[in-house]
């Protein structure tokens, strides 16, 4: 019974969303004089066309999933953690510290240290946003935004200042890490299996925390009705702090992956918009951990698939962002229309 109801509503919603999105992106493509079919082919399937593409897909999906899992926590508590970009950046910066300070330690130990440092950096940054929110009533959206810019400033300062390459001050980042410090990859692929494994376990932990622990249920209560939660004895401010802190940890680990597994050094734009994309994903799935993995993979596949667009079709690859954004927009629209209809009945 329940399944039936679930599917009829959800299928309607899904159809409305996809139809709207495809209509919109097709329109955009047609306006630009581009054949939509060819573009869709690459966007949807391009990321699976070769093992190296799949490897890239997974290496993008890993930090994305970590951030999305973290955001699932904050969303459960009713927070828009726009500061996740900054948390990721700080994670990356902190992850660089042990690598620069003690480069002679055995690599596995350094990796552990880097991940721990990354988690610390991200969570510190998140904690400051949380404090601003709780003690100074600065809306977390604006606190987060401000902290993002500050984080960017710190990264820039390091890359152009104390950590610059000898004789150079360039956006291309710090001197690359020695090869032995890179996270080990599969032969001939840029896939460091540790990254997706970490991300999957983070997702598992978040799902478990939210679904099966008392803490998780009190977080959800805080997000759904803070007044009632407070009346029922939940320390809501503490929950806000904890979820932001937890999100910071995961974003920080994502930052460490960017350093150890992707860029092999600090670049100013180390976050690469992954945090914002994760926000989009979490908005789309309404912070349900069960839907996170497929949607993360889907969004990552768009991003990777779109890389080939300029080469194959001379189409700007930003169309993947258009597709991702309009997907969420139309999902919101479908939700709104459905709620309206339900209300009328």
């Amino acid at each position: 019974m329940q399944k039936m109801r679930f599917s009829s509503l959800a299928v309607q919603n899904f159809l409305l969303t996809t139809a709207g999105t495809l209509f919109f992106t097709t329109l955009i493509l047609l306006i630009s004089g581009i054949s939509p079919l060819a573009v869709y082919q690459l966007l949807f399937f391009g990321a699976f066309s070769s093992p190296s593409k799949i490897a890239d897909l997974l290496m993008l999906a890993a930090p994305l999933l970590l951030c999305a899992a973290g955001l699932t926590l904050t969303f459960a508590a009713g927070l828009y953690n726009l500061g996740i970009e900054g948390q990721l950046t700080l994670g990356a910066i902190f992850a660089m510290l042990p690598l620069r300070l003690w480069p002679d330690l055995p690599p596995p130990l350094l990796w552990v240290l880097a991940f721990l440092a990354g988690a610390l950096g991200g969570s510190l940054w998140a904690a400051s946003t949380a404090s601003l929110k709780i003690y100074a009533q600065v809306n977390e959206i604006f606190a987060g935004l401000g902290m993002n810019f500050l984080a960017m400033g710190i990264a820039l300062y390091l890359v152009f200042g104390p950590w610059q390459r000898i004789g150079t001050a360039s956006m291309s980042g710090t001197e690359p890490l020695p090869n032995e410090l890179w996270l080990p990859t599969l032969p001939n692929l840029r896939l460091a299996p540790l990254a997706p494994l970490l991300a999957l376990s983070a997702l598992g932990i978040v799902w478990f925390l939210l679904a099966h622990t008392k803490w998780g249920i009190s977080v959800r209560a805080t997000g759904l009705n803070p007044i009632a939660a407070e009346n029922l004895g939940v320390p809501t401010n503490l929950r806000l702090f904890e979820t932001l802190f937890g999100c910071g940890i995961l974003a920080g680990i994502a930052g460490a992956i960017q350093i150890l597994g992707v860029f092999h050094g600090l670049i100013p734009n180390v976050s690469s918009g992954i945090g914002l994309l994760a926000l989009l994903i979490v908005l789309l799935v309404q912070a349900q951990p069960t839907w996170l993995l497929p949607i993360v993979l889907l969004f990552a596949s768009f991003a990777i698939g779109s890389v080939q667009l300029p080469l194959a079709l001379n189409v700007d690859s930003n169309i993947s962002g258009v597709l991702q954004g309009s997907l969420v927009l139309f999902a919101l629209m479908a939700r709104g229309i459905q709620e309206r209809r339900q209300k009328k009945h």
């Binding site: 306006i31 956006m171 080469l311």
Partner: protein, 455 residues
Amino acid sequence: MHLAHHVLPTQPLSARMTNALALVALADSVKPFLKLESCVKRMFRSFLPKFGLVWLSTILLLAACSSSQSPTSNLPTVSSTTASSPNPDSAYTFGMLLVGPNNDFGWSQAHYEGAKYAEAKVPGTKFIFVDKVNPADRPGIKVEQIVDDLVNKGAKFIISNSDDFKDGTREAAKAHPDVLFLHVSGDDQLTAKAPKNLGNVMGKMEYGKMIAGCAAALQTKTGKVAYLGPLINDETRRLVNAAFLGANYCWQNLRADKPSEKLDFSVTWIGFWFNIPGTTLDPTVVANEFINAGHDVIISGVDTTEALVEANKATKAGKEIFAIPYDFKDACKQAPAVCLGVPYFNWGPYYVKTLTALKAGSWKPSWEWLAPDWKNLNDLDTTAVGFLPGPALAAENKAKLDEFIAKLAGKDFDLFVGPLNFQDGTVYLKAGEKADEKKIWYMSQLLEGIKGKSK
């Protein structure tokens, strides 16, 4: 929505041409999927009720199908590069990574047009490219990934055009030992970091910059010349120093008014080759700062044309400001009224030479530094670096500039000659000492007399 029709982009000629190329490429990429149509249909029918997951699982399964049914389709495994090339008897494909857009009126367009020139001149070659490879336009996308794509499309020779691609190009070259790489502006050959299949090339732009500096010094009324610097490294310091030397020489020796005071020569670095909002300084703001501080000639060292645009704006507002853009021969066109000229790269002849050698199998990766054709600086079939005077350059100054160019072309004249000191007072060249190539290439500081940061 009717508004959108006004917005309809008119594709530039070049874009249309690449479109045609892309169609060919598309046909190849589509083939394996056509076979899979039934596979897709089956999947959609059986999974439809589970919606969201369908989409994803379809894609995943399709991927699985595609790699199992057509293993040779377009896998980039190193050994099969040649085998998997779509048409074995087709053209020699060479690829290019551009840091900016291929229509930037600057560095990237110069490379793009050079490659198009070579493609036309050397029969049997095919040119493919990816532009805007930079962290602002393609966040998170790395050089290696794009090289993979180029190799997949059959590229056997790949040019990467930014100093920023140094690490990525080296890694990509290691990953594709059968493909040859040319990194423009790099020095891996000099530092012996280069794998066997990676070469470096650069043009001797310092001459172009000397001429630019000279033009600036000849035309300035306030005696204040500004240099809009990109990021700071050996190359950019070299170019600023060259411009300064040229300017200083002409200021002291070629001005009719024989100015007694020293030339004011300032540089502000924005932090990258072009503006990345919120990350670099804004070149527009910096250019305006120059203008407000009394500089009346701005020499641009960045890939984009803000200096020219702002000079033009200020001139329209009643001031008299000039600018010297950079990189691309047609750069003046954006605002001819204030353009004193442009030092530019002309990569065509070198690419022709290289492609010919490549086709003959005789190209060996090395480090090359291409000099201008002093016989005719602007002979597009021979020179690597040129200087086109702009409409705003006064006739008398143009004559003097030609005089200066003639001097440079002469055997005995050089400006990198001592005594020259660095900004911190240490000696760069002792009196009478002439700099060798390495001393010019590795420029560790700005010269004494330049206002601005060295690091």
